[in-house]
C-alpha cells in the first residue's frame, strides 16, 4: 500500500474500497421494518441478490427481496411488463400486506415512470389493487445506503399518514430512528415507554432482522411497524428524528409537522451525554413527564465512568468512518469523553457535513480532517498522517486497521467479521455506557498486547 499522502486533497477518479453501499440496500432495510412488507427492486435480479447477501451476512437472518428480473430486452424497451408480472407473482406467493418498491440504477437510467407503472399495475390486476405499493427512488449514482434509508422512511410516511386516520389508542410518539441496530430499536421503544408513551418506530426491524427460531413457517418474518400505525403518525404527540443529516432537507418528521402539526424534534443519534440529554429533553417535552429516576441513575453512572476512565482516554486520537449520521454522533461523543476524532470520513457527500460536525464537536474541528466522499484508500492516507490510536468503522476497515496495527472498533454497516452486530447497543445512556466500555477496553487490550511485558494491572 502506498505511503503517499499527497492524494488526500486531490480529486480521485476511481473509488477504492468504498466506505458506502448502494441506495436500494438502505431502502430494503426500511421495508424489512414494516410489518408484512415485501421489498421489491425494480431492475435486474443481481442487485437484489447482492443486497440480500450483505444484509443476511450482517444480521444472520433470512432476508427476502423480490425483483422484476430484467432481461436485455426489458433493459432496452422498459420493464413495465416485468413489473406487473413480478408484483403479481410476489403477492400470490408471499401474501404481503404491502410491497416496498425501490429502483435500481438500471431502471433509473432508463427513466422508468414508476408512478404510472404502479398505477397501471394496480388498475389491471384484481389482486394487486388490494396491496399498496410504496415507491422510493434510489439511484445509487445519486446517494448511498444512508440516503436510500432516509428516502424510504419518508416514502412510507408520505404514502400512508393520513389526516383521517384514527387516533392512537394511547399516547404515542413517532420515532424515526435511522439506521441503527436491533438492540437500539428495542431500547428506543423502552425509552418512550419510560415516558409513558407508545412508540411508532419507523422502521422497526428489531424482530424481522433478529427473530427467534420458528416452530411454524412464515412467508415473511413476523414483526415490524404496522401500516395502521404509520397511517396514524399524523395523530401522534410528536416525532423524534435521529440523524443529523435529516436536519438539512425535508425529512419525514418535518413533513409530518408541516402536514399535521406534529411537533418534530430533529436530533442526532443519542450517543453520549449531550445527545442523550437532548433526547430525554424532547421526550419530556412531548410527554409532559419528567425524566424518570432510573434514567437519571443511568446518566449518573455513565458520567461517573467518564471520570474513572479519563486516565485511559485523555490524549487518545481516533479515526471515525461510516454512515454520516453515525460519524457525526460518534465524533461528538468522542469529543465529549476526551478522545480527539482526528479523522471523520464518510463514503457519501451529505449536505453541510462539515458544519454539522463543527456544531457538535467539543473543542472545535481545526485539528480534524473531515473527508466526505471518502473511500478506505483516502482514509488510509489520512490515518497514516494523523496516526490515530483507534479506528471506528465497519468490517471493511479491517484490512487497513490490520496493516497499520491500529485497533478497530466495529460499528455501522456492514459487520460481517464479528458476531452479534444486531445486538450491539449504542444509544441512550445505557447504550453509550456499553459503547464507552467497549472503546476503553479496545484501547486497554491493544496497550496490553503491544507491550512486551504485558502488565495485567492497568
Amino acid at each position: 500500500m502506498s505511503e503517499d499522502t499527497s492524494m488526500l486533497n486531490e480529486p480521485l477518479h476511481a473509488t477504492r474500497n468504498a466506505c458506502k453501499v448502494c441506495a436500494p440496500l438502505g431502502a430494503a432495510m426500511v421495508f424489512k421494518g414494516v410489518s408484512g412488507c415485501l421489498p421489491f427492486l425494480h431492475g435486474s435480479q443481481g442487485c437484489a441478490t447482492y443486497i440480500r447477501r450483505y444484509m443476511i451476512s450482517h444480521f444472520r437472518e433470512p432476508v427476502d427481496i423480490a425483483s422484476s428480473s430484467f432481461s436485455e430486452e426489458d433493459a432496452i424497451f422498459g420493464g413495465s411488463r416485468n413489473f406487473k408480472a413480478g408484483v403479481g407473482n410476489a403477492i400470490l406467493q408471499y401474501e404481503p400486506e404491502l410491497i416496498g418498491v425501490a429502483t435500481t440504477c438500471l431502471s433509473e437510467t432508463i427513466g422508468e415512470n414508476m408512478i404510472a407503472m404502479i398505477r397501471d399495475s394496480q388498475k389491471d390486476v384484481e389482486i394487486t389493487s388490494r396491496t399498496p405499493l410504496v415507491h422510493v427512488s434510489t439511484p445509487a449514482y445519486n446517494g448511498s445506503h444512508s440516503e436510500g434509508f432516509h428516502a424510504a422512511v419518508k416514502a412510507m410516511v408520505t404514502h400512508f399518514a393520513h389526516i383521517d386516520a384514527p387516533a392512537h389508542a394511547s399516547p404515542t410518539l413517532n420515532i424515526m430512528p435511522g439506521m441503527v441496530s436491533c438492540a437500539d430499536l428495542r431500547h428506543l421503544r423502552e425509552l418512550a415507554g419510560l415516558f409513558g408513551m407508545n412508540a411508532v418506530l419507523l422502521p422497526d426491524y428489531s424482530d424481522t432482522l433478529e427473530g427467534a427460531s420458528w416452530d411454524a413457517y412464515h412467508r415473511l418474518s413476523p414483526g415490524g411497524t404496522k401500516v395502521a400505525e404509520i397511517r396514524s403518525m399524523g395523530r401522534s404527540l410528536g416525532s423524534v428524528e435521529l440523524g443529523h443529516t435529516l436536519t438539512t432537507g425535508e425529512s419525514a418528521g418535518a413533513w409530518l409537522e408541516k402536514s399535521f402539526d406534529v411537533p418534530n424534534f430533529p436530533l442526532g443519534l443519542p450517543m453520549g451525554l449531550r445527545f442523550c440529554d437532548r433526547l430525554m429533553g424532547a421526550l419530556a417535552a412531548i410527554s409532559g413527564r419528567a425524566t424518570p429516576q432510573s434514567l437519571l441513575a443511568e446518566r449518573g453512572r455513565l458520567l461517573d465512568s467518564y471520570v474513572d476512565a479519563h486516565k485511559y482516554l485523555s490524549g487518545v486520537k481516533a479515526a471515525v468512518t461510516g454512515e454520516p449520521d453515525l460519524v457525526i454522533a460518534m465524533a461528538g461523543f468522542l469529543s465529549e469523553i476526551g478522545i480527539r476524532p482526528v479523522i471523520c470520513a464518510t463514503g457519501t457527500k451529505p449536505r453541510h457535513f462539515k458544519e454539522l460536525l463543527a456544531g457538535e464537536m467539543e473543542g472545535g474541528i481545526e485539528d480534524v480532517s473531515i473527508i466526505p466522499g471518502s473511500d478506505h484508500h483516502r482514509l488510509e492516507a489520512a490515518v497514516r498522517e494523523a496516526k490515530p490510536d483507534l479506528i471506528i468503522g465497519t468490517s471493511k476497515a479491517m484490512p487497513l486497521a490490520r496493516a497499520l496495527g491500529i485497533p478497530l472498533l466495529r460499528s455501522g454497516f456492514p459487520i460481517h467479521d464479528r458476531f452479534g452486530a444486531q445486538r450491539e447497543l449504542t444509544l441512550g445512556y445505557r447504550g453509550t455506557q456499553a459503547l464507552f466500555d467497549r472503546i476503553v477496553n479496545a484501547l486497554l487490550e491493544h496497550r496490553q498486547e503491544s507491550n512486551p511485558i504485558g502488565y495485567s494491572y492497568l
Partner: protein, 554 residues
C-alpha cells in the same frame, strides 16, 4: 402416483409422499403460467433416461431466486480470483462493492513484491454526471490512476447494468489505454441484465480470458505430466488440496482456472498436455476453445468425495498411460485412504441412512452427492441454481438444446486451429486407442444419471418450493447458499453453505473429505432445535416434565 414412486425409501416408511406427490404439492399454488414453467424445471428423476429439464430459463419476475447476475458470474466468479490482475468495476458503487472478496476464493502471493489485488474493490463509482454525459472519460482516468499507483501486469474492466445502456464503449477505452500504457488491458461487457443468471457471465468471462490472456506466453514448462484444472475456484482452499495430491503423484498443474492463480499462469497454460474440468458449467467453453485452437484434449473430473477423487486420479494417470505414474497414483491413494478410512467408518455409524438435499451452483449439487454417498446418506432432492440442460442430462443433449433470445445475446467465439501451435501432444493415436477402451473425452454425463431413482430434481428452486420440501421431507441437512441458509435453519434444518463453505473447507480431495464428513456429522447430530420449546411449554408430556432439571436457584 407411479409404481416406482412407491418404491422410494421415504414412501416405505409410510410417512412421506412420493416424489411425484411432493412435486404436485409444490406446484399447487402457482398461477397457470408460472406453473407451466415450473413444471418443466421440476422432474422426478429416472437415472436410466433423464427427462428434459427446463433449465437455464429466465427466472419468473417476483419469484425470489438465489440467482445472481452476469456481472457476478464474470467478475465475481471466473476472473475475480486472478490475484495479480487489477480489477476495475465500471458502474455505480454497489455492484463493485458487493463483489469485494465476498467469495471465499483463497489466494496467496507467490513471489515477493507482488500485489494481491483481491483485497481491493476498485470502482469508477459512477455519478449522475456520468449517467447523463457518459462515463468513458472517467473510466480512462481511473485506469490511468490505477496504473500510476500500482503498475500492474494487466487491468481488467467490468461493465455493470447502466454502462451498456448509456452506450459507453469500454472496449474502445481499454484498447486506447492498452496502447498508451503498454500493458494488457481488456474489458468485459457483462452487464447484469444479460442472460438469465450468473451463467451468462461465465460464458462472457471464458471468451474474454481466451481472447486476451490464453496463449500469450509460449515459455516451455518443465515436467512430465502437465495439466490445467479448469473450473476450480479454490473456495476454502480446495485447489490447494488438489495441488497437494497431484504434486504427490508427480503431476504438474500449470494453471487452475481460476483459483489462487496468477496472470502468468493463465497466459502460459496452453503449454499443458491435458485439461481436466471440475465445474463443467462455468468453464466448458474454455475447454472446448483450447482444444480447438491448441489441440489440448479435456475430460471431466471430480475431486469432491473419495470415490470421485480416486476415479479422477486414475483417469489422469491412464490418460498419460505411463506405468510409473499409474503406480504412483495407486500408492498415493492407498496412503491417503489409510487416513480417510477410519474417519468415514466412524462417521458413517451416525450418518448412515440420513438424508440430504442440495441446491447449489452449476456443479456442486452434483459433486457433493458423492460425499454424502461416502457417508451412507441419501440425497432426496437436488438442483442447480444456474446450470443448463447438459449439466443435468449430460452433454449428449447439447445438439438438442434450443437457443433462446437470452443465450443468443451471448457471443460465441469463432475459434480456429492455431497452425503454429496446434499440437495433439503426441496423443492423437493414444486418444483414439483410449477412446476405444471406453475412455471418454469431452464428456459429462450430468447429474441426473448419477442421482437415485424417484428423487426430485428441482432447477432454480424458489423459496416456496424449499419450504414445501422441508415440510414434506425434513431432510437432515440441506446444502445451499447464504441466501437460503437462515430460512432453512429457522425451520429447524441445518444448512451447509456450499458456495462459501461457511468459513470451513477445504472439502476437496482426501483431506477435504475428512473435513466434510466431520462437519456433516456435527451438523446432523445437533440437538439445538430440541430446545425450541421451553420445558414449561404447554402440553409437555409428563415424562418430559419429570425429566426437567431442577431450577438452578432452587
Amino acid at each position: 402416483m407411479s409404481d416406482e414412486a412407491t418404491d422410494s425409501p421415504q414412501a416405505h416408511e409410510g410417512l412421506v409422499p412420493s416424489a411425484a406427490e411432493a412435486r404436485e404439492q409444490m406446484l399447487e399454488i402457482y398461477p397457470k403460467k408460472t406453473r407451466r414453467k415450473r413444471e418443466k424445471q421440476m422432474l422426478v428423476n429416472d437415472p436410466g433416461s433423464p427427462g428434459e429439464i427446463g433449465a437455464n430459463s429466465r427466472t419468473v419476475p417476483g419469484i425470489i431466486t438465489q440467482r445472481g447476475c452476469s456481472y457476478a458470474g464474470c467478475k465475481g466468479v471466473v476472473i475475480g480470483p486472478i490475484y495479480d490482475i487489477l480489477h476495475i468495476t465500471h458502474g455505480p458503487i454497489g455492484c463493485g462493492w458487493y463483489s469485494w472478496l465476498s467469495r471465499r476464493n483463497m489466494t496467496r502471493i507467490r513471489k515477493a513484491g507482488e500485489t494481491n489485488f483481491l483485497q481491493y474493490s476498485m470502482s469508477t463509482d459512477m455519478q449522475e454526471e456520468q449517467i447523463v454525459f457518459g462515463g468513458e472519460k472517467k473510466l480512462a482516468l481511473a485506469i490511468q490512476e490505477a496504473y500510476d499507483e500500482f503498475h500492474p501486469k494487466a487491468i481488467s474492466i467490468y461493465a455493470t447494468c447502466p454502462v451498456g445502456l448509456i452506450g459507453d464503449d469500454i472496449h474502445k477505452v481499454c484498447r486506447e489505454m492498452k496502447q498508451k500504457l503498454g500493458i494488457n488491458i481488456f474489458g468485459f461487457s457483462c452487464e447484469g441484465y444479460k442472460g438469465v443468471s450468473q451463467s451468462a457471465g461465465h460464458h462472457i468471462a471464458n471468451n474474454g480470458v481466451f481472447k486476451h490472456m490464453i496463449g500469450l506466453d509460449d515459455t516451455p514448462v518443465e515436467g512430465k505430466y502437465k495439466i490445467n484444472i479448469l473450473g476450480e475456484y479454490n473456495i476454502g482452499g480446495d485447489a490447494w488440496e488438489i495441488d497437494r495430491i497431484l504434486a504427490l503423484c508427480g503431476i504438474k498443474i500449470i494453471g487452475t482456472l481460476s483459483g489462487g492463480v496468477s496472470y502468468d499462469d493463465i497466459t502460459n497454460c496452453h503449454m499443458a498436455d491435458l485439461n481436466v474440468v471440475m465445474c463443467h458449467r462455468s468453464i466448458n467453453y474454455m475447454a472446448e476453445m483450447m482444444e480447438k485452437k491448441f489441440g489440448i484434449p479435456w475430460f471431466k473430473v471430480n475431486f469432491i468425495g473419495i470415490n470421485g477423487t480416486k476415479k479422477s486420479l486414475r483417469k489422469i494417470a491412464k490418460y498419460f498411460g505411463d506405468k510409473e505414474l499409474i503406480d504412483r497414483v495407486e500408492e498415493v491413494i492407498a496412503k491417503e485412504m489409510s487416513e480417510v478410512r477410519p474417519v468415514v467408518e466412524d462417521v458413517k455409524t451416525r450418518t448412515s441412512g440420513k438424508t440430504a438435499a442440495l441446491f447449489v451452483g452449476g456443479s456442486r449439487a452434483h459433486h457433493y452427492q458423492d460425499l454424502f454417498e461416502d457417508m451412507g446418506m441419501k440425497v432426496i432432492s437436488a438442483g442447480y441454481e444456474f446450470a443448463h440442460r447438459d449439466d443435468y442430462e449430460g452433454r449428449d443433449v447439447l445438439p438438442h438444446i434450443k437457443m433462446d433470445a437470452d443465450t443468443r445475446n451471448i457471443e460465441e467465439l469463432e475459434v480456429e486451429q492455431d497452425p503454429a501451435r496446434f499440437n495433439l501432444r503426441g496423443t492423437a493415436d493414444r486418444k483414439a486407442a483410449l477412446q476405444s477402451e471406453e475412455f471418454s473425452f469431452s464428456d459429462y454425463e450430468g447429474m441426473m444419471r448419477q442421482m437415485g431413482k424417484d428423487t426430485l430434481v428441482i432447477d432454480d428452486i424458489s423459496h416456496h418450493e424449499m419450504e414445501k420440501l422441508i415440510e414434506i421431507y425434513k431432510p437432515d441437512v440441506i446444502g445451499s447458499g447464504i441466501k437460503d441458509k437462515y430460512i432453512i435453519e429457522k425451520m429447524g434444518v441445518p444448512c451447509k453453505q456450499l458456495h462459501s463453505y461457511d468459513y470451513g473447507g477445504p472439502y476437496a480431495g482426501f483431506k477435504g473429505a475428512i473435513n466434510f464428513y466431520k462437519e456433516i456429522d456435527r451438523m446432523t447430530s445437533t440437538k439445538v432445535w430440541k430446545y425450541i420449546h421451553a420445558p414449561w411449554h404447554d402440553a409437555a408430556p409428563a415424562a418430559e416434565a419429570a425429566a426437567a432439571p431442577e431450577p438452578v436457584n432452587a
